[in-house]
């Protein structure tokens, strides 16, 4: 009965303050929405990866790979020699079709039934009703291609449409379906020979897929030639998924930051709700309701409201995830591997996680407010000044707690570990620690402002005086805004520093004046490469104005650690200067690279596997199988977070039989005319029988930076969403604070204060809070940027970089805080100027 009465009383209070309740719930909704959207996006990417793997590998358990693909005749011989094994040769490549990145798989239709690759609805048999065109079409049509329903629909492809890829034109002769529509999105299938022709891989297959038992796999692995390697399909998938882990953790951490800011907001609102009812609570305790009862009421309120808001937050999260997914997929495609994700995958576990995070953080944030409601004597709770006195006493303790957190965070940050989670833990503890220091620092700042400016005008004095005497409210609001604004500064500096470093790196790396890319680029930046001949290269070198040339080819290299991009480099005279050394060999890195059995490795690879110059690395070669190479040096590289190797052409040619060239760097003589030289280079390039593209280093530089900017779009979106939560926080804090003080403002008006003065007071208070938040956000923002650059980035991607502080970042941050606070003060000012004086003066 008593409980029912208490809840009725609470309900009535919240009904009387709908806007406050709405804002609080809106904060939770947005916080939960952001976290859930990131969880859904990450889950969708993982799920899409699993589905596409399912579509690509079917029942295949193992695959045989070679250092440089498997020649057709060797593959055929192996299949013939092992009639008891289920084996399917596969050619796989990525290509751009109508501007969209697709995966082209070449397979042997007569061997597909055992793999259930496109099963159950899409086999390549003639009789299968789900396949609109069967084997007959495959045999009859010229370069026939099948598209999945999802791909055909998305790319608006119709049967009979010509499909231009590479040097050949194919024809869409049919469509297929898989069990999951999403699994086959972005997938085109064709015969092996067509795929080889389209992807410029004539005479070779990428892998042999097999369905093997463990015993068969063990037996087979011992009999394989040294140049071949047997690997489990699941292991390959796990390796690829691990590549994106750091990126996904980064996104999750950014979203948790939004939730942390949301927690400030929830705590703020619940505290206000308790403070506004302090007299009601006091009366309740006077009539005999125990402190635990009041604690229970506040906690139940938090639970109910956060549950409702979190449920709505889940829906918002689903909506945000739709947009976020596109940005995330783009980044994964730019940085890691090709992934076709068009739709979100909702998992009950992901939604439950979002719900638990929302409710859990809200209840946690409300605990202090509930303690506030339950603590102190009944009479003391009635006294408004008692709350402020208590706050004043509490501030130094909060500062102390904050300093302890900061110390702990710093200790964790500098703890010798490569754990990304530990790094983010340290970052979060530092943010929380600084957040706890903010109320004390705000008080000092506002006092200083009061001393300096308080004498200038009565309105200034009243406004600032009121802020310092209401620290229980203002401290929290400033903390919430400062943390959010600092996050935007920290991320801005991190991205800025990263961009600056990439810019410098590109300038150093792109030493040649022009680059010729041979073959088609597949949209991931990697060229399909082409066969050139020495005579053509010699003639290119002899063009008037060309000083010298370098050639490069990027291939997959299987090593004793993982599979990495291997750059096969035939250097020019200036190639050495395109490398920034981070670790050199005592014998001279470049000299060793050019003369010894050695390779160069990029920084992320060195960091991930603790390698340095002098370390040994085993590469899986085409001629001799596993061969050891010495690391001649570690160089800076922002091209791949997974890691990259460089080998000189002559050494590569010794162990591999792949004479193709992917790109050519052309250096122009300084005295030569660039325009006529490039025209001559273009003319010479046009003689090649394969597609080729000539670009100058400036356009490649610009294109690379554009891709860089694209990869950070998702971070920027999350940053602004976090700022949105903070804005609601400061808005709700200011509104609650001003509404609670409506009576004080009415007294001021009754004592001769004009509407104009009132508005000035509120505007000044908002500005003062903005100034405090802006100033206090700067040190935290700088601290965050340092941690993001030197700890999080290194642990996530393996990239080190120097901090660069953009000149405009600090004033921008300050203005952002100021503008947010000023904007948030507009509505309370308008609302207060319309309040009924009499009803406020009457209310007690």
């Amino acid at each position: 009965m008593v409980t029912a009465l208490l809840f009725r009383s609470s309900w009535r209070f919240h009904r009387q303050h709908p806007l406050q309740l709405m804002l609080s719930m809106f904060g939770i909704i947005l916080g939960v929405g952001i976290v859930t959207s990131v969880l859904i996006t990450n889950h969708s990417a993982v799920r899409a990866f699993a589905l596409s793997s399912e579509a690509l590998y079917g029942r295949a358990t193992h695959q045989i790979v070679a250092a440089n693909a498997i020649p057709d005749e060797q593959a055929a011989l192996f299949i013939r020699s092992n009639p008891s094994l289920t084996i399917a040769p596969i050619v796989e490549s990525e290509a751009l079709l109508n501007g969209t990145l697709i995966t082209l798989v070449g397979l042997d239709p007569f061997r597909e039934s055992e793999f259930a690759r496109l099963q159950p609805n899409a086999s390549m048999s003639d009789s299968d009703s789900n396949t609109q065109v069967g084997v007959t079409a495959l045999l009859d049509a010229k370069n026939p291609i099948w598209a999945s329903d999802a791909t055909a629909e998305r790319l608006k492809l119709s049967l009979g449409d010509p499909i231009n890829m590479g040097e050949l034109e194919a024809t869409l002769v049919g469509t297929f379906r898989t069990a999951s529509r999403a699994a086959s999105d972005g997938l085109l299938v064709t015969d092996i020979s067509v795929a080889q022709a389209l992807s410029n891989k004539r005479g070779k297959v990428d892998r042999l897929e097999m369905v093997l038992s463990d015993a068969e796999a063990n037996a087979l692995s011992t009999t394989l030639p040294a140049q071949w390697r047997l690997q489990a399909t699941a292991q390959r998938q796990a390796t690829m998924q691990a590549m994106t882990k750091g990126f996904q953790i980064n996104l999750t951490a950014m979203s948790l930051l939004a939730l942390l800011v949301g927690m400030f907001l929830i705590h703020n609102t619940m505290t206000f709700a308790v403070l506004q009812r302090r007299e009601v609570f006091a009366v309740k305790r006077l009539v005999g309701i125990p402190a635990s009862g009041l604690f229970g009421i506040v906690m139940t309120e938090a639970l109910v409201f956060s549950a409702i808001a979190s449920l709505i937050g889940l829906l918002v999260g689903i909506l945000i995830a739709q947009k976020l997914l596109q940005l995330t997929t783009q980044t994964i495609n730019d940085l890691y591997f090709v992934l076709h994700v068009q739709q979100i995958h909702l998992s009950p576990w992901v939604l439950l996680a979002g719900l638990i995070l929302g409710i859990g953080s809200s209840v946690l944030a409300a605990t202090l407010a509930a303690c506030e409601a339950a603590s102190g004597s009944a009479m003391q709770a009635r006294r408004r000044s008692a709350v402020e006195e208590k706050t004043k006493t509490l501030l130094p303790w909060l500062l102390l707690a904050g300093l302890v957190f900061l110390t702990l965070g710093a200790a964790l940050a500098w703890f010798p570990s490569q754990s990304l989670l530990l790094g983010f833990g340290a970052l979060m503890i530092v943010i929380m620690g600084y957040g706890l220091c903010i109320p004390w620092l705000s008080q000092r700042l506002l006092n200083l402002l009061q001393t300096v400016m308080g004498q200038t005008h009565v309105v200034v004095s009243l406004a600032l005086g009121s802020l310092t005497s209401n620290m229980s409210r203002t401290g929290l609001a400033i903390a919430a805004l400062a943390v959010a604004v600092s996050a935007t500064l920290g991320v801005q500096i991190m991205i800025g520093s990263f961009r600056h470093s990439v810019d410098n790196w590109l300038t150093q790396t792109l030493q040649s004046d022009f680059y010729i890319t041979l073959g088609d680029t597949d949209g991931t930046g990697r060229s399909s490469a082409g066969q050139t001949n020495n005579q053509w290269l010699q003639k290119l070198n002899e063009i008037n104005g060309v000083q010298d040339i370098s050639t490069g080819l990027v291939v997959d290299a299987v090593t004793n650690f993982d599979t990495f991009d291997l750059l096969v480099l035939s250097p020019s005279a200036i190639s050495e200067s395109s490398y920034e050394w981070l670790d050199t060999h005592p014998d001279g890195s470049w000299q060793m690279f050019m003369n010894e059995q050695s390779i160069l490795i990029s920084e992320p690879l060195a960091n991930k596997y603790s390698l340095s110059s002098g370390s040994m690395m085993r590469l899986f070669t085409e001629t001799d199988g596993d061969v050891a190479f010495t690391v001649a040096g570690v160089y800076r590289d922002y091209g791949s977070s997974h890691g990259r190797l460089v080998i000189r052409r002559s050494l590569y040619d010794y162990y591999w039989n792949n004479p193709r060239v992917g790109s050519i760097g052309v250096n122009v003589n300084t005295a030569a005319d660039r325009t006529s030289t490039i025209a001559a280079v273009r003319e010479h390039t046009n003689q090649l029988p394969i597609p080729a593209r000539v670009r100058d280093n400036i356009s490649i530089h610009a294109e690379s930076l554009a891709i860089f900017d694209r990869t950070f779009s998702v971070t920027r979106v999350l940053r602004w969403l976090t700022m949105g939560v903070a804005f609601i926080g400061i808005f709700s804090a200011l509104l609650a604070m001003h509404l609670e003080r409506a009576r004080d403002f009415a007294i001021m008006q009754a004592s001769g204060g004009s509407h104009h003065q009132l508005r000035q007071i509120i505007a000044l208070q908002s500005l003062a809070m903005g100034i405090a938040a802006g100033l206090l956000a700067i040190p935290l923002g700088l601290l965050m940027s340092e941690m993001l650059i030197h700890i999080i980035n290194v642990r996530s991607f393996g990239w080190s970089m120097a901090s660069t502080l953009p000149i405009s970042a600090i004033p921008q941050t300050f203005l952002l805080a100021l503008a947010s606070a000023a904007l948030a003060g507009l509505y309370p000012a308008w609302r207060l100027s319309r309040q009924s004086l009499v009803s406020e003066l009457r209310s007690e």
Partner: protein
């Protein structure tokens, strides 16, 4: 004959809907400068509403209100604010002190809002603190003061800008008999000192008897006083 300090003519006032019975119904009243008038009546009879209209806290709906030659019935918000700042002071039953401002700052508020120089502010405040006997508590916050002390602060705040008209709504309503008497004495002495016109709403006969004139209100109209008025009690 000199111009009246307060002149109310035919005012009618309603809360909410037009169909509701008016809280003030065609009421007229005149108050001479320096006069003390006590307004008595049952709860809901419209006493406080009349006070609020004269004080410019609410706009006049029908009728005319003139305070020291300033018309309030057609005054905009800014003018009403200006009048409160210059010639009107308020004392409330619930004291209405700002809890986060100290005693001295509460008293300073009207002077600060009116832009009075700091030296002048301090001079007037110190004198008043001495008069109300709260010099030793000038830095205390309102909620640590007793009811009587809080009302003395409220009175000091109401008169610190030396208003010509003081409006007091149940000034002793929240106080015990002895404290109420002290507050009343203080009010009277301050009013007398500056020849301030005082319009006071009260339920108390003792308080009302201190006034030069007593008027009773019933159903939004002024009525003849009789000794059996139920609403008047004693303390």
């Amino acid at each position: 004959m000199s111009q009246p300090a307060v002149e109310v003519t035919g005012i009618t006032h309603r809360y909410n809907t037009a169909s509701q019975r008016p809280i003030l119904n065609d009421l007229s009243l005149s108050l001479a400068a320096g006069e003390t008038l006590a307004l008595v009546g049952a709860s809901g009879s419209g006493k406080s509403t009349l006070l609020n209209l004269i004080g410019g806290l609410e706009p006049v709906q029908e009728g005319y209100v003139r305070v020291f030659n300033e018309t309030l019935h057609d005054a905009n918000n800014a003018l009403r604010t200006e009048l409160r700042r210059s010639i009107i002071g308020f004392v409330y039953q619930a004291f209405n002190l700002i809890p986060t401002l100290s005693v001295v700052d509460n008293i300073r508020l009207p002077l600060a809002l009116a832009g009075v120089h700091k030296t002048e502010q301090d001079k007037r405040i110190n004198r008043l603190l001495d008069t109300v006997g709260l010099t030793d508590k000038k830095n205390a916050f309102p909620d640590v003061l007793s009811g009587g002390e809080q009302q003395r602060v409220a009175i000091a705040r109401a008169v610190v800008h030396q208003p010509a008209l003081l409006l007091a709504d149940e000034p002793t309503g929240n106080l015990d008999a002895s404290t109420g008497q002290q507050v009343l004495n203080l009010l009277q002495s301050l009013v007398a000192e500056h020849n301030t016109t005082l319009l006071m709403v009260t339920h108390s006969l003792k308080v009302a008897n201190c006034a030069d004139r007593i008027l009773a209100m019933n159903d939004g109209q002024l009525v003849e006083m009789n000794d059996n008025t139920d609403s008047i009690n004693t303390w």
